[in-house]
């Protein structure tokens, strides 16, 4: 095998290195979704997201939501952000983004008398941001600047045998090249947390990992929920998975064999390279938003059942665990890891293919979910203390 390249063409930002060059229109609340959508439509190729956050500033989830929105806007795949709030106090999200050296503009509906006039005022600014983005071109970026999100969704009994271990190989190659991988899904660490903790670079990191999993189980138990009864989901069971422990043992194979160097809060940006764990829900889209808000420019997503997931701003490479599904859903699955099951390729072969493809995607090759415009978005809330 030819040695992997150490540079890929990407976008240099004040806040990191991007693999895409998006202009993002970001609403702070549900009531700003429509204005964001209309601004993006008036100034293509800007991308708007929509979400269901309608909380007041004193809501216990407000800091988590603001951190998520700000991190998403500050992702280096974004050249500039236009934040749309309801009132001037919603400027906080734009200020958090600016604090990360990201170019950002802010509009509040209340400054213009409502949606229509806000769109009229903001659309030309959005067009200017998009035009400024279009003047940027790719320059060589060290592979070590890549932060990769590791996800699985709609897993089946093959996921832990084919797609997940192959992604683990790709993750190890990225970490060896000086890059960063993030594993998440606290739900799917249950029953396997000790294995990952044993790989911690320092004992304290492993202890924090165990603590995160136990806190989550305790939180759910306090709600009267036995997570081991609610997960696996119906599709997992139909796909041959029997217990959450079995699902977890397969899920952590996405993290390869690299040492665990840090445990991150939801939407927190890594402070050092290497394999990280982020405390996220198993919910595929909430998790993906958290990872992208934490700085992931790329997401690799394994699936056995055929999940069509994509992110509005980060390319999401889909890896199928079995050839039957991958060929049935050929428009959704970028890489078929089923060759491992029929013996025509090894886990290492497919892992290398995934890594090479990830570098191609980083260099500009679109993923299938990007081509289809699959732009999933969701806000993660804990609902602690919320009536």
């Amino acid at each position: 095998m030819v040695a992997a390249p150490t540079l890929v063409p990407g976008y240099r930002r004040p806040n990191g290195w991007g693999v895409r060059n998006h202009t993002l229109i970001l609403p702070t609340h549900t009531g700003a979704n429509l204005a964001a959508k209309l601004i993006a439509a008036a100034a293509p190729p800007a991308i708007a997201v929509a979400h269901e956050w309608d909380g007041e500033p004193n809501d216990p989830d407000a800091p988590r939501v603001e951190r998520t929105l700000a991190g998403f806007g500050a992702n280096p795949n974004v050249a500039a952000v236009l934040v749309v709030g309801l009132f001037d106090s919603d400027r906080r999200v734009a200020e958090l983004i600016a604090a990360r050296s990201q170019r950002v503009e802010f509009f509040a509906l209340a400054d213009y008398g409502g949606v229509e006039a806000t769109v009229r005022a903001a659309a030309p600014i959005s067009a200017l941001l998009a035009a400024a983005a279009a003047t940027q071109s790719r320059v060589p970026v060290p592979v070590s600047e890549i932060i990769l999100g590791l996800e699985c969704g709609g897993s089946d009994s093959w996921s832990g045998v084919s797609a997940n271990p192959a992604l683990g190989v790709a993750s190890d190659l990225l970490v060896e090249a000086g890059g960063t991988s993030i594993l998440g899904e606290t739900t799917e660490l249950i029953g396997a947390e000790h294995l990952l903790a044993a790989r911690a670079a320092e004992p304290a990191i492993g202890e924090r990992l165990i603590g995160v999993v136990h806190a989550f189980e305790t939180e759910l138990a306090a709600l009267g929920v036995d997570i081991r009864g609610a997960n696996p989901a119906p599709g997992n069971i139909e796909g041959g998975l029997t217990t959450i422990e079995e699902k977890s043992l397969g899920a952590i194979k996405k993290a390869g064999t690299a040492p665990l160097v840090d445990v991150l809060e939801f939407a927190q940006r890594p402070s050092r390279p290497g394999l990280q764990y982020m405390d996220t829900p198993g919910h595929d889209i909430e998790q993906m938003v958290g990872m992208v808000a934490g700085g992931c420019q790329l997401v690799a997503f394994t699936t056995g059942r055929g999940t069509p997931t994509g992110s509005p701003i980060a390319p999401c490479l889909k890896i199928g665990s079995n050839s039957a599904m991958a060929s049935h859903q050929a428009g959704d699955i970028d890489i078929d890891a089923g060759s491992i099951l029929d013996g025509t390729e090894t886990v290492t072969d497919v892992g290398r293919r995934i890594f090479e493809r990830l570098l191609e995607v980083a260099s500009g090759r679109p993923t299938l979910s990007e081509l289809r415009g699959q732009r999933d978005f969701a806000i993660s809330r804990t609902l602690h203390g919320v009536g």
Partner: protein
């Protein structure tokens, strides 16, 4: 108020209910099917792109299913095209079985059975044509005042004098009313303590009922639509913005002058500082016109916000 003034005209459904609007709904059972639902709906139907359907636990899953079924069952909806994924917690095919009992047009497409997202959009587009054609054959016909269920959203706090005046006037006109309150204000009259309580998104009974426990205005509005309200009256508190729902017109009434001035284009009515009796008369008169087809400010600007109240976090 005379009987003639109270009569309405709407879209009669096979189950005897009457819609104020005649929407075809494209409903994803899960967040992952949202983009396909949106592409299927295009400009011909209303898609609800939401963030739910997977990794719910306990009562939260049941409540979410109830809201989805309630939205499809709202009299404003002529028919529903449901888009499932296949592996989700709230199974599309189970929702489909429940929707099929509604005696309305319903079609179901499942991404993992159709061969992926693109194929689902192609099949769904052709399935939608029949539903849109069927809905277009239904026109408005006269209906009695008791065919109307109003929803009243109040956000985290309510002006009790206005609430009492509106309630009296709506019930006197023969319509039903479901009120969303965060909790029961202590200065409300004793009769409110005997009013039937409805769970979030559950069907509103005839007469007066209340639903408790939600403070977000958008989440209240979504729940009221799921409970069957054909028109939602929203008493927008200070420093809140007016929003719509995907299927029920929302009449947005400002209760605070500064908020009205800041967002005047998006309100239907400035109720700040008005006498409760006179204001309630104006609101109810306008709400009846909205039932009969007058577009609200939210409808004119295309506001279709969906916000689901959740009981527990995603796992």
């Amino acid at each position: 108020m005379t009987g003639i003034a109270s009569s309405v005209a709407g879209f009669r459904r096979p189950d005897g209910t009457v819609g104020a609007r005649n929407h075809v709904l494209v409903l994803p059972s899960v967040v992952c099917a949202g983009m396909a639902a949106s592409a299927i709906a295009g400009d011909d139907a209303i898609a609800i792109v939401h963030q739910h359907g997977c990794d719910h636990v306990g009562e939260d899953a049941a409540q979410t299913s109830r809201v989805f079924l309630g939205l499809a069952g709202n009299p404003n909806v002529a028919s529903t095209l449901l888009v499932g994924l296949g592996c989700e917690t709230i199974q599309g095919r189970e929702l489909y079985a429940d929707l099929s009992a509604l005696a309305k047009g319903v079609e179901y497409f499942e991404i993992q059975a159709c061969g992926g997202s693109a194929q689902t959009v192609v099949s769904g587009r052709s399935g939608l044509e029949d539903l849109v054609a069927g809905a277009s054959r239904i026109g408005r016909s006269p209906a009695p005042p008791d065919a109307v269920v109003y929803g009243l959203a109040t956000g985290p706090r309510v002006q009790t004098e206005l609430l009492e005046a509106l309630t009296e006037r709506i019930l006197a006109g023969g319509a039903s009313l479901l009120v969303a309150l965060r909790d029961l204000p202590p200065d409300l009259g004793n009769r409110w303590r005997a009013v039937p309580v409805v769970e979030y998104g559950a069907a509103a009974p005839a007469g007066l009922a209340v639903t408790f426990g939600v403070s977000s205005l958008s989440e209240q509005q979504t729940g009221l639509a799921a409970s069957g309200a054909q028109v939602v009256i929203s008493l927008v508190p200070a420093r809140h913005a007016p929003t719509g729902t995907p299927i029920s017109p929302v009449l947005s009434v400002a209760t605070d002058r500064l908020t009205y001035e800041a967002l005047h284009d998006d309100f239907d009515l400035d109720g700040s500082g008005a006498d409760a009796g006179a204001l309630s008369e104006r609101i109810v008169g306008l709400a009846r016109e909205v039932f009969n087809g007058r577009p609200t400010a939210a409808e004119r600007r295309g506001a279709q916000e969906f916000a689901l109240h959740r009981l527990t976090r995603s796992t």
